[in-house]
Symmetry: D2
Subunit: 390 residues, 4 copies
């Protein structure tokens, strides 16, 4: 019989919802499952919000005391879905208590925090994972498969974008995502790290960067009430007090990879009309790959050795015949959403626990991504090529 494992989830907001969904659904999709995740305790800021999260997300218990929960002997897994500013503290405590840990991205606000977290989990010998879920899109995993099999040859270049528009409105509220002391950085940490993670996954380590960072909207209306709101939908009305945005709104960077490939990266939350426009374009000596998350079921691939009269990008619509297809939907084209990327992530995490083999991206990988983020921010300041630290 499949083993049940008790999960303590810290943070009951939007990300908590996505993770709770994955715990409930993972065994339904991937069967036999590596484990049955059991929603044991959900922790939120107050008892009230925690209790609501409990009912809504189907946990047994609610708590507002993460320290206590993380230390409980009946907890197997700690899941960190909080804002970035408490990732390190919780993760280190959880590691010390011997819990397996999945932590939302970015791993931390700073390289120092990330390094401390990576050391803690290493020392504790637990399984650890950073929730860069876009790797789990089947089409992205298929891109990786093609590259590993050499089907597009040696990679020459990479360009990745992550464009959103939910912060384009200058009167959208001052979410924690616009505050350096909580978020660490702006688009760099929030979304550029996804692109960095994808670049590492598909091409290899980035060695040096050369970036522009900028902030278009320098103030935003202060949030009302205790709940953090995102985006233009929650636009403040009338004459509200405004606070300073002290993080970046946009980053564009040139990239050089350790293996000699070159490329570029762009991330912004101010691109009107782009929703979750994560795109990848990779050219190799034998073909090319293109991906756009807004049409995430599809991978575009071009093989240079196709006959001249029928050469062109193939739109491979992912389904049962592609990565994770054994667990997702049995009929091609039913299609996946954000949910399924989280279900796959959950599957890979519990598979790692079961096999005892670290998943990817783990905290080491997360640290590497933080090092690139740090180099991007440094380069944005210096206006020069900056080397990714170690």
């Amino acid at each position: 019989m499949t083993k049940r494992m008790n999960v303590a989830m810290i943070g009951g907001g939007f990300m908590g919802k996505a993770h709770a969904m994955a715990y409930a659904c993972m065994p339904m999709f991937f069967w036999p499952a590596p484990a049955i995740p059991h929603r044991k305790v959900v922790v939120d800021v107050t008892d009230d919000t925690a209790e609501t999260a409990r009912q809504r997300y189907g946990f047994d218990e609610a708590s507002s005391d993460w320290r206590n929960v993380v230390a409980r002997p009946d907890i197997d897994v700690v899941d960190i879905c909080t804002p970035n500013n408490v990732h390190a503290e919780i993760a280190i405590a959880a590691a010390q208590a011997g819990k397996h840990i999945i932590c939302e991205k970015p791993l931390a606000r700073t390289v120092e925090e990330a390094r401390a977290m990576a050391e803690a989990v290493k020392k504790a010998g637990v399984i650890h994972m950073v929730a860069f879920n876009y790797r789990r899109t089947p089409a992205v995993a298929l891109a990786r498969k093609y590259i590993e099999e050499g089907r597009i040859g040696k990679i020459l270049n990479f360009r990745g974008t992550y464009l959103q528009d939910w912060s384009a409105d200058p009167d959208g509220p001052l979410s924690w995502r616009f505050q350096k002391k909580i978020a660490g950085s702006g688009t760099v940490g929030d979304i550029a790290t996804h692109v960095v993670d994808l670049a590492h996954y598909l091409v290899g380590p980035i060695e040096t960067v050369n970036a522009i960072t900028t902030t278009y909207n320098k103030t935003r209306p202060l949030q009302q009430g205790g709940v953090d709101k995102l985006g233009a939908a929650e636009k403040a009305s009338g004459d509200v007090e405004r606070g300073e945005v002290d993080v970046d709104d946009e980053v564009i960077s040139l990239l050089r990879f350790q293996n000699g490939a070159i490329g570029s990266l762009e991330a912004t939350r101010n691109a009107y009309g782009r929703n979750n426009f994560i795109t990848l374009e990779i050219h190799g000596t034998k073909g090319s790959i293109h991906f756009n998350y807004e049409r995430r079921d599809e991978l575009q691939v071009m093989f240079a050795d196709d006959p001249a009269d029928s050469r062109g990008f193939r739109t491979v619509y992912t389904g049962p015949a592609h990565p994770y297809g054994q667990g997702l939907w049995p009929i091609p084209g039913l299609g996946i959403g954000y949910s399924e990327t989280k279900i796959v992530e959950c599957f890979d995490f519990f598979s790692a626990i079961r096999t005892g083999k670290q998943p990817s991206p783990n905290f080491e990988d997360g640290l590497l991504t933080e090092l690139v983020a740090d180099a991007l921010l440094r380069s944005g300041e210096s206006g020069a090529w900056e080397r990714v630290g170690r």
Copy 2:
């Protein structure tokens, strides 16, 4: 506190998975939820398959005796996820036991069965729904909103397609979906009914049809073992015995609607390269709408009164600002898959139970769709316009 309602799900296959997922997730997405669906009993053909389904889908109990389960007083809702041949029998028993019922599509194999079911639920006074989930795609619901608001004017015509390719391989196995005694019909019942349901939803009742039906692959390899397999992925190897396909492979039809609109419909499971190619194109006197489920996050809409220099189809990428957006994902572009269509369906079903107002499509609507399916099959035989019965 939100009310918990006990669900008995009959059928633990692919559809059972989709429904179990929806029961677990609906309150996570739509909160406060109209009810907390509780996965009480799952029924499958044998005790063994039922027990596996129980573990996998998170139900309390397993059973192989649907009659007994349907009659249990602790059951509030009966969910029918079986092949088509037992829909009527189960639904009628459930209605007689006073249960609310959600039944997978098509409602039944024949008009007679569908009519008996519609009468049974009416008599019993329960809430009833047919699981034509594609209506629940936010982009489709947005199309309905535009039409209701008159934004594309009077509808002149409609064309809908449903193209798949999982049965294009003549050596794919003889699933129950190719057997008239179980399925009732082929593409007509399986997928053309989805298009009919969408046409009814967006345009109104179909009055007459004029169809071609055809069967390209007249035999298929008999299935091995007890489990029904779909598609080319499960292609039989070597020299297996073959059985007759006695249902349609493809249907194309002209349509006339009661309100004067005209149109066409096409459904096939043999269209190489098309996965779940449900497309809608609707022209009105003030604009047009286009939808393709393979890119289900997007609705294309064109308003004729836009200025000449900036007129064209708008790609509206559905998100928080669109139908069901309050429950789905709070950031635009995270994107939905098949899962979310089922979660929305579940929400609408329990909302109907809570309010006591029948949802749409209910069994009456399902009967109407069966009447169109029947007319399509008759027209395929007669080669002439056939009137949809009453």
Copy 3:
């Protein structure tokens, strides 16, 4: 040295422009050219409009007397770019004078006219062609190549559309295209015949049809002045007199081909947002083809025997490696427009003159298309399957 051939072009409107362009450019593109078309005489309704056409289109002479011009011994080729009502008369006179003839589509208003034309050119032994230029799109010619080479197997079905919106505005002027006595029919002759021609080219002869025809806008403002105007851009202002539209606005039809394939066809000039939306979708036993003229450089093709992990529609962007690529642009992706389809048509016409082998579509093919058009109109009346005449 390449032979110079004198052309008399009858009709100096929009089509005259396209043909004059092709005469000037064909040798530039296809070299060595089969002939150098020399723009000798242009004929229009009045001396004034003819003289303007002469200057604008680069002809040596202008005339308003087509009978005289057609009979001149120095004329080698007669090109008919007039409204449909004088096609037959001119073509028969030109044939009797021994001229090679290219005639704009549709060949004629009626089957009787088309048959008389086909007989006249046959008797005269001249080269004859109907200007169904969309066949000349390289991507369409590539589709034909794939089909001929058996690369998508036996064709199962075909669906073709031709959607425009220039007549959707009910206050667009009453062009000759809305008048039966001049045009013969509406969308059937004007644009559905293009789809029929493409169906014949790619699949084979249509045997029976079953159509709906309809007229949405039953009156339109009478034209002011002598020049015929098209579309909404020329919308009448204020309180102008209106005349009756006595031709069809839209046609939808089921199709059965002689070779057993089935299909459908749709044409309308009232589809808001569609510009020149000529689409083809063809499913075969080994693959599928999709084409959309609005993205005419591209052909979508799917080969069923591609490996499961990299199967999908290929977007073949036509260029030097594809049909007519030797003459068009030497760098892939420079891209073609309407012009190039006409240049290719001109090349094929003069190649036919040079080799003495009839081109396709010639008047025989044009007659066949008229026979299908006639069947569509008959079926629109009868509401029943109608056989294409002989």
Copy 4:
């Protein structure tokens, strides 16, 4: 009566074809025409190739002596379609002879040459133009219109790409385009300058750049015979001698504009599967624009103030209602190719001659683009931000 102007075209290769086509067609499209360009003399390297060009392109005379031709009193316009290495010499001679000049892009191999050319035409008081034809795509001109009208607000950023794949094959021949002494540079001059020109047209002057330049294929087979060949189609067979490629294969750069906008640029001729992939993405404070030349009829535009439920990129399919629409095709969707961009260019050039007002881009603009190209090459060497010279 419209004035006839005599053109001397220097260079009878691929570009000569495009220009000859434009001379023949411009008055057909734009009527009344600003002038009737008369194809008087074509000059090529030898008498033989010139004579072939004369017949093919419809010129009165052929010559292999450009100096003599340029000085002829009956010549009004000199058109330079040669490789880059003789642009300066011819242009300066033509200016001194008082001829109006249209010169293919890039204007010159170096800033020094470009500056000398700009000074010569200024001194001579003639009309001058550089043939950056992609500005003339109606969709690009429409983007400019939106920007000028403030419809997407203040421009925040710009990214432009020009991706091709004709040189991806390492065994494609060593065209003059790979030789610094003739071409001046590689992708920088050949195609990145198009992106620079578009950036200048749509956003304004570029101030500083920060680039990577690279050369993937360091040798190529020497050309056989006298005719320069492009691309993989002409791949050398067997054991041919190879020569050095001393120009760049790819350039990626960060950009800073004088008006504060930021951006990026990428150009490569080695991107398998990309044909003429000129893309623009521009985000403003009130909307966004996207363009892809491979689908050149379409402009994507998003207006932020559209209602929330119907906001998204509009696909504006250019036609009669858009820039240059009065001259191109009268029915929407007939579609344009490379030809039409050159016809529009020709129209704008002769309009400038007629009005005496310099067109854009003229040699001053071309010099500015050379200055950016020079900065790109310097930055590729230095690895640092480089200021565009004056």
